[in-house]
């Protein structure tokens, strides 16, 4: 099977080679003699600008008026001309190694201590609130209740400091609440904005037409209703709509999410977060979770902290709360919570790495801070 290698022309077959030869001959002939029959294309019109001739003196005068632009060639510096970077020479004095203390001088005659004052500084520390101002010395002594048996030596530094008054320092940012009108007794009638009432009719109704609308004859009064037997009829069965069971199954299966989204449910809607999304958040918070200042006891506490996040992916600090904790005492739990909260706030300052289109999935977050791998073993 194959295609015929030629074209039938008047019953004779002309081979492809012959056709090609004819074509080439025609082309060569046209190139040689074709120019005779063709007019030369007009040359492109050159636009000529009118110029004024000026003399050399005028030119030099113009040059002198024009601002001079001096372009200085960049100065090429050889590498050897570069100044060596200044290096701060180390101090002449050698630094003693950290683990080797300065050689101890040979002690001269070390006499017995001349009854040194070995007690802690001669100080009685009275801890008191700054307001009212500290009373004078004799008043302080008067405050100290003497023991009944023997005078107790005054503490040099009071063991337990007293609390200051409630700190007066506070943020000078004054929160201003939105102005709200005072509620009145009478319910305020809602002002409904409405559009202009519709025209009664866009069509002009003539009397003649109006006549047509009028009833042509009066309705006859209805006859007296016949007494009817009261028979309790069963309620009419609602007519079942003709529903395709296949369609119903499909709609039931597929509309589950939409139906539940309308009812309040803890299940967030929208596209789910990927493992990568969650990992990004986890890594971000990990980098801010500093357990270096935690007590050894607090490093054994696992806390679950919940908070809400705004659409700008920043945490709402006022929503940060301790949900649960395991291990440790109350103080340790508080320390662990504070450390976790600090991590959330600090990491969230510039927003968490969360996808905008999945807001519904991360608007509420619960983070379990588990220092198991960080704690001292």
């Amino acid at each position: 099977m194959g295609f015929p290698h030629g074209i039938a022309l008047g019953g004779n077959k002309i081979s492809g080679t012959a056709i090609s030869g004819l074509g080439h001959a025609a082309l060569i002939g046209w190139v040689l003699v074709g120019g005779m029959f063709m007019r030369p294309t007009p040359s492109r019109v050159e636009t000529v600008a009118n110029v004024a001739l000026i003399s050399a003196d005028q030119f030099s005068a113009l040059q002198s008026i024009a601002p001079k632009t001096v372009i200085e060639p960049p100065e090429v510096q050889s590498p050897t001309s570069e100044e060596a970077p200044k290096v701060v020479a180390p101090a002449d004095t050698p630094v003693a190694p950290a683990d080797r203390p300065a050689p101890t001088p040979e002690p001269s005659v070390e006499k017995a201590p001349e009854k040194p004052d070995l007690t802690p500084p001669q100080t009685e520390v009275v801890v008191q609130s700054p307001e009212p101002p500290a009373p004078p010395l004799n008043e302080e002594l008067a405050v100290i209740k003497p023991e009944e048996t023997a005078p107790r030596p005054v503490d040099r530094v009071a063991p337990v400091p007293s609390a200051l008054s409630v700190p007066e320092a506070r943020d000078d940012v004054v929160k201003r609440e939105a102005t709200v009108a005072a509620p009145s007794d009478a319910p305020a009638t809602p002002i409904e904005e409405s559009t202009a009432p519709k025209a009664a009719n866009t069509k002009i109704v003539t009397e003649a037409e109006r006549v047509k609308i009028a009833p042509e004859r009066s309705v006859r009064p209805k006859s007296r209703p016949k007494p009817t037997k009261v028979v309790a009829k069963p309620a009419p069965k609602p007519e079942k709509p003709a529903v395709d069971p296949l369609q119903a199954a499909l709609s039931e299966a597929l509309s589950g999410e939409a139906t539940k989204a309308e009812t309040p449910s803890p299940r967030p809607s929208g596209p789910p977060l990927t493992a990568s999304d969650k990992e990004g958040l986890r890594v971000a918070v990990s980098n801010c979770w500093n357990v270096g200042s935690l007590s050894t006891d607090a490093q054994r506490v696992v806390v679950v902290i919940g908070f809400s996040v705004g659409r700008d992916t920043r945490p709402k600090n006022e929503t940060i709360r301790l949900i649960s904790s395991t291990g440790g005492s109350g103080v340790s739990v508080n320390q662990a919570f504070e450390t976790g909260r600090r991590a959330i706030i600090i990491c969230g300052r510039k927003g968490f790495p969360l996808p905008d289109d999945k807001f519904e999935q991360w608007r509420d977050i619960e983070i379990t801070f588990n220092p198991e791998r960080m704690r001292i073993k």
């Binding site: 070390e110 100080t123 199954a249």
Partner: protein, 444 residues
């Protein structure tokens, strides 16, 4: 036809139902993640110079705030943000704190204070702020004392700030008694000295005419037990810190007594007594009286230390062939060995929190300071050097001080401290060589 429809419905319901269920189970409620890897870094804090509330307080205000910074940073748990970086300036103790300015320099804690001097009295006030919570951390406090107690007041400020942020107990307002050393190794002169925990205010308790060893504080910090060769052989002395007066505790003939340590009640003293070539552990009252023998073995039992509740004693013994650590009831009884690692273990000290036992370990020519649980588990070595020995606990049970000696004929001994985590190893400055430290309880 109807049957086919029902069948198709069932198949579809079975196919799509689980899909719907899977979607629902993908996430219910809030997004939940678990963070297990954090960072361990010092917490950045800002300590602006305390406000001098009168002209006389200017110098003290600067010095007190410097001590507070040194305490907090020296603990290894905090990092100071240099004052040059502060945006806000604290010019009044009661002025409003501009949290935004401190957040901008990433200060997570802020300590503000004020100092006023009235004659010989000084008043120090301070407040601590949690910058990222926009609120004070606890109430403000105020200390009043004499001007020469300013360092103690600074330490108290540091203790309060440290405790509130970390949850650990305080330890800055404490002292250390140690053996001050001078002279060459083969002719070393030793005497007892006492200083603040940070090396300040060194004062000497004894002269250097005789060798002294192993000072130990009483639970109230007002007395010190130590061993002296004053009489030619080791004897235990009890020294009153305030008056530097002392008395020998055990003068029994033909015996050597050493390694004393107070019991938690401040009355019982546990110590080693060598008699007829055998060393055992005994106890007696610090007021004198009869001695009670707690161990009875042909081995050397020494370096006893009470548990904080006074119910047990940990000590070292070579009864197994080499030095190991044992625990026994405070009234005596069958000791239980708790160290089983390679090498030799000695100088065990019970933590004031009761959770760990610190020890010295010698293994493969190196000395280590380590800790283990009271049952011997979770052994961790915190240091390693030519010679580390003699650990002592800070009052909060978080920091350990010990002595380290360098090698060679000119080697000297110094004091070092290390965090329980093994971090923040640092030298404690002393004017001369130092060894055998013992940390006091918190000062009253």
């Amino acid at each position: 036809m109807k049957m086919r429809l029902i069948a198709r419905t069932l198949i579809l319901a079975l196919t799509l139902g689980p899909l719907n269920l899977t979607t629902a189970q993908a996430q219910t409620g809030p997004l939940r993640i678990e963070v297990t890897d954090g960072v361990i870094e010092p917490l950045p804090i800002a300590v602006p110079t305390f406000v001098a509330e009168n002209a006389a307080a200017a110098q003290l205000a600067e010095e007190i705030s410097r001590v507070v910074v040194a305490d907090l940073v020296g603990s290894g748990l905090f990092r100071e943000i240099p004052r040059e970086a502060h945006i806000a300036k604290i010019t009044s103790f009661d002025a409003a704190v501009r949290y935004a300015d401190w957040k901008a320099i990433n200060a997570q804690g802020l300590v503000t204070g004020a100092v006023s001097v009235q004659g010989k009295r000084v008043i120090v006030k301070f407040r601590l702020f949690d910058v990222f919570s926009d609120k004070p951390l606890g109430d403000g406090l105020q200390f009043t004392g004499s001007t020469d107690a300013w360092r103690r007041m600074a330490h108290k400020v540091s203790d309060a700030a440290y405790g509130r942020i970390t949850g650990e107990g305080p330890y800055f307002d404490s002292r250390v008694v140690f053996v001050s050393e001078s002279g060459p190794k083969d002719l070393r002169q030793k005497r007892l000295a006492i200083m603040d925990y940070d090396g300040a205010n060194v004062q000497y308790l004894t002269d250097s005419t005789s060798i002294v060893l192993g000072p130990r504080f009483s639970p109230t910090g007002d007395r010190v037990l130590y061993t002296s060769y004053e009489s030619g052989s080791p004897r235990i002395y009890a020294l009153d810190v305030a008056s530097a007066s002392r008395r020998v505790l055990n003068n029994q003939a033909a015996t050597l007594s050493f390694s004393p340590r107070f019991g938690p009640d401040g009355d019982a003293v546990v110590f080693s007594l060598a008699k007829a070539g055998n060393t055992d552990i005994y106890t007696m009252s610090v007021r004198g009286g009869a001695q009670t023998r707690l161990t009875s073995s042909p081995s050397i039992d020494t370096d006893p230390s009470y548990s904080p509740d006074g119910s047990q004693i940990v000590f070292e013994s070579d009864r197994s062939g080499n030095q190991q650590i044992y625990v026994m009831p405070a009234g005596g009884g069958e000791p239980k060995r708790i160290s089983f690692g390679a090498g030799r273990y000695g100088t065990p000290v019970w933590s004031p929190r009761g959770d760990y036992i610190a020890f010295t370990k010698q293994n493969k020519g190196r000395f280590h300071i380590g800790v283990m649980r009271v049952d011997g588990s979770e052994e961790r070595l915190l240091t390693s050097s030519f010679l580390d020995e003699g650990p002592t606990w800070a009052p909060n049970g978080r920091v350990i001080m010990f002595s380290r000696e360098t090698s060679g004929a000119t080697g000297t001994s110094s004091l070092y401290s290390v965090d329980l985590t093994g971090r923040n190893l640092k030298r404690v400055p002393t004017p001369l060589g130092a060894s055998d430290p013992a940390w006091s309880p918190l000062q009253k």
